[in-house]
Every structure is written in structure tokens, then in C-alpha cells.
């Protein structure tokens, strides 16, 4: 897997982690306006990055959440457990 693709995945992971963390915080603090604004801003950034990744490397999600080029790209390897980020050059 190319370093560019791995780096894009890492950027998506970082943003989605931000979303997960804010999501859990909001579950117990639903009235915190600043956290909600940060969550909503993260959603916009994450959506943009995922679209860019999926256009190049195929769908990140299935079941109607992302479309696919022909032929059906969901079945393409690698699956997540086949990616070892230790093999990323320059890390």
C-alpha cells in the first residue's frame, strides 16, 4: 500500500477519532455548545476527506453509505487487519 494512501487513512483516523471523542463527551454533556460546534465542524472535514479517499481507493463503507466504481470495489484487498503501518516509509 502506498505511503500516500496510508497517510490519508491516518488523517481520516485522526479526524474520526476526534468525532468519536466529542460524540462520547456530548452524550454526557448534550448542552455544551462549543463541543457541539467542534463536532459539527469535524463532520464537515471528515466527510470531505473520506470522499477524496474513496474516489481514489474505493469505498470505506458499504450498505448504501458509499457508491462504487465498476467492478464492485468493496471486495478489494487490503482489509484493515492486512495493513501494517510499520511498513510506512519515513515513519
Amino acid at each position: 500500500m502506498s505511503t500516500v494512501r496510508m497517510q490519508m487513512l491516518i488523517d481520516i483516523m485522526a479526524l474520526e477519532f476526534t468525532a468519536v471523542e466529542l460524540n462520547l463527551f456530548l452524550d454526557t454533556h448534550p448542552g455544551e455548545r462549543r463541543a457541539l460546534d467542534a463536532y459539527n465542524a469535524t463532520v464537515v472535514q471528515l466527510d470531505e476527506l473520506k470522499r477524496e479517499y474513496e474516489a481514489r481507493f474505493g469505498p470505506l463503507t458499504n450498505f448504501g453509505y458509499s457508491d462504487s466504481d465498476y467492478p464492485w470495489r468493496w471486495v478489494e484487498e487490503p482489509w484493515p487487519w492486512q495493513i501494517n503501518f510499520a511498513h510506512m516509509k519515513g515513519v
Binding site: L9, I10, V20, L24, L60, T61, P80, N84, F85
Partner: protein, 196 residues
């Protein structure tokens, strides 16, 4: 409904073939304080939580734990996939190999299979949340023992991330417990007022 996302929650780096380390890390896959137990515990307790907030917390932490289960599986899979039979034997994984080859199975570090008795679902939100607070502390302690045992810098990085998530989950469950106490106190006063 769940949607699968074709990525891990954390960019796992595995620097070695190390079945000895896999043998202990697998306890966070199928051991008493592992991620299978955590995810199934929260996801099955969520049905009887009394408020929208408490249902959300159990649903969302249970879902994140499923992602952690996948991260743990990825570590174990990669630590053993290129191991020779000699290395498997030297690591004391020959018994595991006889039953599972290098496939992932839900066991603790000594090969004891996962059982539903590891978890409880009591229907009493105060009891369930106390169990969950304890579960997060036990998982945190396990990750600390695994960090002491790890000699792979990539694995240690991932274990430290997972340990930190237990700390955050503990915090969120604590806040949820306070919220539940407030909810019941409020109900109680209202109820008493109605009948006094």
C-alpha cells in the same frame, strides 16, 4: 443497524513476528476483561437503560469497543501470521495451534475460552453502571500489564492508546452514573410529592 467501516480506529504498527506477545495480548480479545466482553456487556445492557443519555453512552461505548476488538485482533493476527512452527512451539502456542492454526479465537492468555459469565446485565442501571466502571478499570490494569510485557514498540503504542480509551470510558460512565442518580432523585421527589 451497524455500518462497517473499512479502516481501524488506530493505525496499528507491528514491528516483529512475536507469537509470545500474541499469546498474552489475545486475552484482550477473548479474556475476562477483554474487548469482546466489554462490547457485548454494554450493547446488551443498553436496552434497559432508563434515559436517552444512558442508552446513548452504552450504545456508543459498546460500538467503540467493537472497534477495539478489531484492533486487538489485528495485533494478534500480525504477530503470529509469519511465525514458524518452532516459534509457535517456543511461545507455548502449540496447543492453540492444534485447535485453531493461526486463526483468531476468543480465549484468554492461557487458552481458556470466552464465556458469557464474564459479563452481567442486571436491569438495574445503578448496578450495571458500577459493573461497567469496574470493567474499565480492570481493562486499564490489563493494558498496563501488557505494556510491561511488550517488547515491540509499535504494539506498545497501540496498547497505550487502548489503555487511554479505558480511562475516558470510565469518566463517561461515571458521569452517566451521576446523571442516573439525579434522574431517580428527581423521579423520587416527584413521586413522594404526589402521594404525601
Amino acid at each position: 443497524m451497524w455500518i462497517y467501516e473499512k479502516k481501524l480506529e488506530f493505525p496499528s504498527r507491528i514491528c516483529s513476528t512475536n507469537p509470545k506477545l500474541a499469546k498474552v495480548i489475545i486475552t484482550q480479545y477473548g479474556g475476562p476483561d477483554g474487548e469482546l466482553a466489554a462490547s457485548l456487556r454494554y450493547l446488551t445492557q443498553r436496552y434497559t437503560m432508563p434515559t436517552g443519555r444512558s442508552k446513548a453512552v452504552l450504545n456508543d461505548i459498546g460500538t467503540e469497543e467493537l472497534a477495539h476488538m478489531e484492533v486487538v485482533a489485528t495485533m494478534v493476527y500480525n504477530l503470529i501470521k509469519d511465525a514458524s512452527l518452532e516459534e509457535i512451539k517456543a511461545a507455548g502456542l502449540d496447543g492453540y495451534y492444534a485447535d485453531h492454526d493461526k486463526a483468531l479465537y476468543f480465549v484468554n492468555g492461557d487458552g481458556v475460552p470466552w464465556v458469557a459469565q464474564y459479563i452481567q446485565s442486571k436491569g438495574d442501571p445503578v448496578a450495571d453502571l458500577h459493573e461497567n466502571l469496574a470493567a474499565e478499570q480492570k481493562a486499564r490494569a490489563t493494558y498496563e500489564y501488557l505494556l510491561q510485557l511488550s517488547d515491540d514498540p509499535g504494539i506498545s503504542e497501540t496498547l497505550a492508546f487502548l489503555r487511554q480509551r479505558e480511562v475516558i470510558h470510565f469518566q463517561r460512565f461515571g458521569e452517566t452514573l451521576e446523571h442516573i442518580y439525579e434522574f431517580y432523585n428527581h423521579q423520587h421527589r416527584f413521586f413522594m410529592g404526589d402521594h404525601s
